[in-house]
C-alpha cells in the first residue's frame, strides 16, 4: 500500500511519453520520476537551470552547486546541461516543455489554476508556476482531492488565479479528470472508490466518461 501522494505520482507517470521534456514541480510532482513505466525515458527540466535532472545523491555525496528548483540536492544524467534563468524560461515559455506537473491549491472546471497565495494567510509567490502553466504543452495537476475535507476541484476558483484556462488533466488519489470545453470529464476512478464518492468530494459537476476506467492504488 502506498500513500495518497504516491498513488497520484504513480498514475501521473503513465501520462508521460518516451522522449518528453518534463518539468516536475516541488513536492508531490517530484515523486513522479520514481514511477516511470519501463521504456519511458524523459528529460527533466528544473527551472533553476538544469536539463537532465537525476535522483537525489547518496548522503555525503551532495554537490552544493547541484540543486533543483526546490533547493534539494540532485545528481545529473549523462548529457545534462546547465543554463541561466533567461534560457530556462525560454525553454518553458517557448513551448519546449512537453509536460509540466504542478500542485494546486484549487482548480476549477474551466482549467483555471490557483497555486500561489491565500490572501491574508499564505503567500509563497508564483515562482515559475505562472510561466510553466502558460508555456508547457500539457499542464497536469497532481493534487489531493480535498483539503481538510473541503473540495479543491471547484466550479469557480475562490483564490487568486495563477493561470487562466491552462489545466489539461487533474490527477488526485480518487480520480483522473480531463478538462474539456464542455466541463470536467471523469475518466478514471481509483480502485475501491465510486463515482458517487468522487462527485461528493468535488464541487464542480463531473461528466462521467462512457469509458470510465479505474487506476491502481497499490
Amino acid at each position: 500500500m502506498i500513500d495518497a501522494k504516491n498513488i497520484i505520482a504513480k498514475r501521473i507517470a503513465k501520462e508521460l511519453h518516451d522522449g518528453d521534456v518534463v518539468n516536475l514541480g516541488i513536492g508531490l510532482p517530484t515523486l513522479v520520476a520514481n514511477y516511470l513505466p519501463e521504456g519511458v525515458d524523459i528529460t527533466i527540466q528544473s527551472e533553476n537551470g538544469v536539463l537532465g535532472v537525476d535522483a537525489a545523491p547518496e548522503k555525503g555525496k551532495e554537490d552544493p552547486d547541484l540543486v533543483n528548483a526546490g533547493g534539494k540536492h540532485i545528481t545529473i544524467r549523462k548529457g545534462a546541461s546547465f543554463f541561466d534563468s533567461a534560457t530556462s524560461f525560454l525553454i518553458i515559455r517557448g513551448g519546449h516543455v512537453d509536460a509540466a506537473v504542478l500542485g494546486a491549491l484549487e482548480v476549477d472546471e474551466k482549467g483555471n489554476l490557483a497555486s500561489h497565495m491565500v490572501p491574508g494567510k499564505m503567500v509563497s509567490g508564483m515562482g515559475g508556476a505562472m510561466d510553466l502553466a502558460t508555456g508547457a504543452k500539457k499542464m497536469i495537476i497532481g493534487t489531493l482531492h480535498t483539503n481538510d475535507g473541503k473540495p479543491k476541484i471547484l466550479k469557480k476558483l475562490t483564490l487568486p488565479v495563477t493561470a487562466v484556462g491552462v489545466v489539461k488533466l487533474i490527477v488526485s488519489e480518487m480520480a483522473v479528470i480531463e478538462v474539456t470545453p464542455g466541463g470536467l470529464l471523469l475518466k478514471e476512478i481509483a480502485e475501491g472508490t465510486t463515482v458517487e464518492a468522487v462527485q461528493a468530494a468535488t464541487d464542480a459537476e463531473l461528466i462521467v466518461s462512457p469509458n470510465l476506467g479505474t487506476f491502481s492504488v497499490q
Binding site: G125, D131, T134, V161
Partner: protein, 220 residues
C-alpha cells in the same frame, strides 16, 4: 587588462542607504554570501532587493530581511523564508511578486537595451493589474517593463581579474543576467585567476560588464 580585484570592504563602501540591489542566486545557490555579510556589517539600510527569492533562514538574502534593512523586495518566490511573509503581512516590507520567467526577462531587457517584453505569462491574473496589454496575432500579451538596479551582486565560481566569470552547475541562474543590468557590478568569486586562465569558450559573464571583483570569504 585592468585588474579589478579590490578588498570586500572597499566594494561595500560603494553602497549606501536606499540603494536598489540585484542579488544573484537561486535559494542561496550562486548567492554572493560575503557581500551580503558585508552590507550587514556596515549597517546599510532602506534597501530595495531584486532577486529570484528571499533565501532560506540563516542564509543569503534572508539575513538582510531578518535584520530589517530591506524596505522592498521584487522577487518571484518568498515561500522558503517565512520572515518575508511575516513582514509583508505586518506592512513593514513591500513585496512585489513577479513571475520568475518575467523577472529574468525584465532584467535581460534592461541589460539588452530593450524597451520591454511582451509575454502571455500573467494575463488574467493580478500580475496584469495596471499594465498595458497588446493584441498580436489574436493573442493578448502583457507588456512588462525593463528593470535595472544601482548595484548587481554576482556570485561566481571562478573570475579572472578583468571580470570574466564562470558559474558552476546550477549557480548560474540570474547571475549573468543581473551583471548586465546595474550601474555598478560587483562579482564575488570563490576563485580568482589571471586573464587567459578561463577558456574564452567557458566565459559566461564578460569582463566588460564588471566593475570590481572581490574574493569570497565564504565556504558555502
Amino acid at each position: 587588462m585592468k585588474n579589478k580585484v579590490i578588498p570586500i570592504s572597499e566594494a561595500i563602501d560603494k553602497i549606501s542607504d536606499g540603494a536598489t540591489i540585484m542579488v544573484g542566486g537561486f535559494l542561496c545557490v550562486g548567492t554572493p554570501q560575503g557581500l551580503i555579510d558585508g552590507i550587514l556589517a556596515k549597517g546599510i539600510k532602506n534597501l530595495t532587493i531584486i532577486s529570484n527569492d528571499t533565501g532560506i533562514p540563516g542564509m543569503g538574502i534572508s539575513k538582510l530581511i531578518a535584520a530589517k534593512v530591506v524596505k522592498k523586495v521584487i522577487t518571484s518566490h518568498i515561500g522558503t523564508n517565512p520572515e518575508t511573509g511575516k513582514q509583508m503581512m505586518a506592512g513593514t516590507l513591500d513585496v512585489e511578486l513577479v513571475p520568475q520567467g518575467t523577472l529574468a526577462e525584465r532584467i535581460r531587457a534592461a541589460g539588452a537595451g530593450l524597451g520591454g517584453v511582451l509575454t502571455l505569462t500573467g494575463i488574467g491574473t493580478e500580475v496584469a493589474n495596471g499594465k498595458q496589454t497588446l493584441v498580436l496575432n489574436n493573442r493578448t500579451y502583457l507588456l512588462e517593463l525593463p528593470i535595472r538596479a544601482d548595484f548587481a551582486l554576482v556570485g561566481a565560481s571562478i573570475a579572472d581579474t578583468f571580470g570574466n566569470a564562470f558559474f558552476n552547475g546550477a549557480t548560474r541562474n540570474f547571475n549573468p543576467l543581473i551583471a548586465t543590468a546595474a550601474d555598478t557590478v560587483i562579482v564575488e568569486a570563490k576563485k580568482i585567476v589571471e586573464p587567459g586562465e578561463i577558456d574564452p569558450n567557458m566565459v559566461m559573464t564578460h569582463g566588460i560588464f564588471v566593475d570590481c571583483i572581490v574574493r569570497s570569504n565564504s565556504n558555502d
